[in-house]
């Protein structure tokens, strides 16, 4: 077959170049559009999936129930209530700050031991051994009429334990 384009009126190099660029431009625009479309689609799911906590205040129990220097699991709120040696209360998230495993309290060793990579935390949630990079998150505790209440809406990150994180009677 004869290539007509070269025989008849050859489009000037400028025109060809212009058209090539135009198509390249449209191609990029199309890519951006599809990328944006995909990302918005995926992003919408983040909102939809936000956990709806209807009741963010969890009642852990009466103050007298807890002896100092002990840890009680509160499965309802997925946290631990640590009653510190001085009798103040600290609510600890049970999610390991390393990679999110659920940390059990080891009564004998008197520490939290993560089953996944062996991080250990003390009663106040501070790291005893790596790899966890920071202490367990905590939740604000309120004591009303001798009842311990914990606000579990957002876990609080922290660099180390300070006595202000715990609540005294």
């Amino acid at each position: 077959m004869v290539d007509n384009r070269n025989n008849d009126t050859p489009p000037g190099p400028n025109r060809r170049q212009f058209l090539n660029r135009l198509w390249a431009f449209f191609g990029v625009v199309a890519l951006v559009e599809f990328g944006w479309l995909g990302l918005s689609f995926l992003n919408s799911r983040k909102e939809r999936n936000k956990p709806v906590k209807t009741e963010s205040i969890v009642t852990a129990g009466a103050v007298e129930q807890f002896t100092p220097a002990t840890v009680t699991a509160v499965p309802l709120g997925q946290f631990y209530l640590a009653c510190l040696a001085d009798g103040s209360f600290l609510a600890l998230s049970r999610t390991c700050t390393h990679l999110g495993c659920s940390v059990p309290w080891d009564e004998e060793k008197n520490q939290f031991v993560c089953p996944c990579h062996g991080s250990t935390f003390n009663l106040t949630g501070e790291v005893l051994s790596a790899p966890a990079p920071r202490p367990l998150d905590y939740y604000p505790v309120r004591i009303e009429n001798g009842i311990v209440k914990v606000d579990i809406s957002t876990p609080q990150k922290r660099g180390r334990f300070e006595s202000t994180q715990a609540t005294r009677i």
């Binding site: 799911r45 999936n49 499965p75 659920s102 990579h117 062996g118 005893l128 051994s129 790596a130 990079p133």
Partner: protein, 426 residues
């Protein structure tokens, strides 16, 4: 030749050239590893499509649908086992394939792009294995995904964003399963398929597999034989033997399925799937940012770049390049095993004795990374300058060292780590 035969032959010849150099048919050149990988991919597609008919990708039904598959569907258990064993074998076979490509000098000029594509294939099939791991929504799946998506969170700048993207929200839930399901059954297989065709085409374009370079008669082309039946029959023999092996394995060895996912309790120990044991071992010893991001990035960059550095490929077609290369490889393997074991044991003592944690970003991050860099550079120049090894041989030693380390970590992770990931005897 009858017409029907002819057209089948033609179809085969779209993937293969009509004739191939005779010497590349040697089994001990390629060990048929690439062909085995293709066969396993085939088995995976076949059994995967079957399971798709029963599996329900929702958090409250996934687990039950797997139980139905294994208990009620005829051959359901077998099909699941075949899928499982093919997937796991594929990881082993692909790594061996990578090793053979490296050790026979098959990533040199003309094959560079194919090495890169091969690495992407490896990445894809690891992702495929991992996304599939989540689908049964049992304890194993749930916690593996918790750990892995948390790992994303440590990536600088976009970590949080990536984590929420993959989880489909702040927490693990139905959207996470939907994401992983789509990745596993549509996105990854599709991409894998395209890359595979490209991979095969590039093998053909490079003139087939690597051949031994003959110095005496560079002009004389090595003798060629016709592809059908010489190559095709060999491929069929290897492929069918492998299928028989996998099918038998799948009769006697069941895929694990733990209890249904329980977000309140991690199993103890909660181990990564075996092909991520190297990662897991890193996580035990390094600061997460380094274990999750810096070291994998350095490793991936090194593997991607190695063919583009001049003279890094061994003499083609000869295992280890030469007898000297073979000796170096043996030494590297032995030293690699001893060094890895020693390091792990020493750090285990350090971890056990540490009562207070100092700044782990430095002590378990910057410091070991720096030491690693200096050590690699030092070893490299020692081997090249003092012991007169070629650059290609030294690079080969490096690749072997990485793979040996990963293997040792995998063995330790699978058999020698017990509750809370402490070292134990099996």
């Amino acid at each position: 030749m009858p017409k029907s035969r002819r057209s089948i032959t033609d179809l085969i010849l779209h993937l293969h050239p009509p004739t191939v150099p005779e010497e590349t048919l040697r089994f001990n050149l390629s060990w048929g590893l690439g062909g085995m990988a293709v066969m396993l991919v085939g088995l995976l597609f076949f059994t995967g499509i079957l399971m798709l008919l029963v599996y329900q990708p929702s958090t409250d039904q996934a687990y039950t649908s797997i139980l139905i598959l294994t208990r009620e569907v005829p051959f359901g258990l077998w099909v699941r086992n075949i899928h499982h064993w093919s997937a796991n074998l594929l990881v082993v076979i692909s790594v061996l394939h990578l090793l053979r490509v490296a050790l026979t000098g098959a990533f040199g000029p003309g094959r560079r792009l194919n090495w890169v594509i091969g690495l992407f294939l490896l990445f894809l099939l690891l992702s495929s294995n991992f996304t599939g791991y989540l689908l049964p929504w049992d304890q194993l799946a749930y916690w593996a995904v918790t750990i892995c998506t948390s790992m994303l969170g440590y990536i600088p700048f976009c970590g949080q964003w990536l984590q929420e993207l993959f989880r489909g929200g702040a927490e693990i839930g139905p959207a996470t399963l939907a994401n992983f399901f789509v990745l596993h059954v549509a996105f990854i297989p599709g991409t894998l398929f395209i890359l595979l065709l490209w991979h095969f085409w590039l093998v053909r374009r490079a003139g087939g597999l690597v051949q031994i370079k003959k110095n005496d008669a560079p002009e004389a082309p090595s003798p060629r034989v016709s592809t059908v039946p010489n190559l095709v029959m060999r491929e069929a023999a290897v492929g069918l033997a492998l299928v028989a092996f996998v099918l038998t394995l799948a009769i006697f060895w069941n895929t694990p399925l733990l209890e249904q996912a329980n977000p309140g309790m991690s199993p103890n120990p909660a181990k990564a799937p075996w092909y991520f044991m190297g990662f897991q071992e890193l996580l035990l010893h390094l600061h997460p940012v380094f274990a999750v991001f810096v070291w994998p990035l350095l490793g991936a960059a090194a593997f991607l770049c190695v063919p583009f550095w001049r003279d890094t490929a061994l003499p083609t077609g000869v295992w280890f390049g030469s007898g000297q290369g073979r000796t170096l490889a043996a030494w590297t393997t032995a030293i690699g095993v001893v060094a890895t074991l020693t390091l792990i044991l020493i750090d285990n003592l350090l971890l056990g004795s540490a009562t207070a944690v100092t700044n782990t970003f430095v002590t378990r991050g910057l410091l070991p990374t720096g030491v690693l860099m200096v050590l690699s550079a030092g070893l490299y120049s020692w081997l090249v300058k003092k012991l007169n090894y070629s650059r290609a041989e030294t690079v080969m030693a490096g690749i072997i060292l990485v793979l040996v380390t990963l293997t040792v970590c995998t063995i330790i992770g699978v058999w020698f780590r017990g509750p809370e990931m402490h070292l134990v005897w099996p």
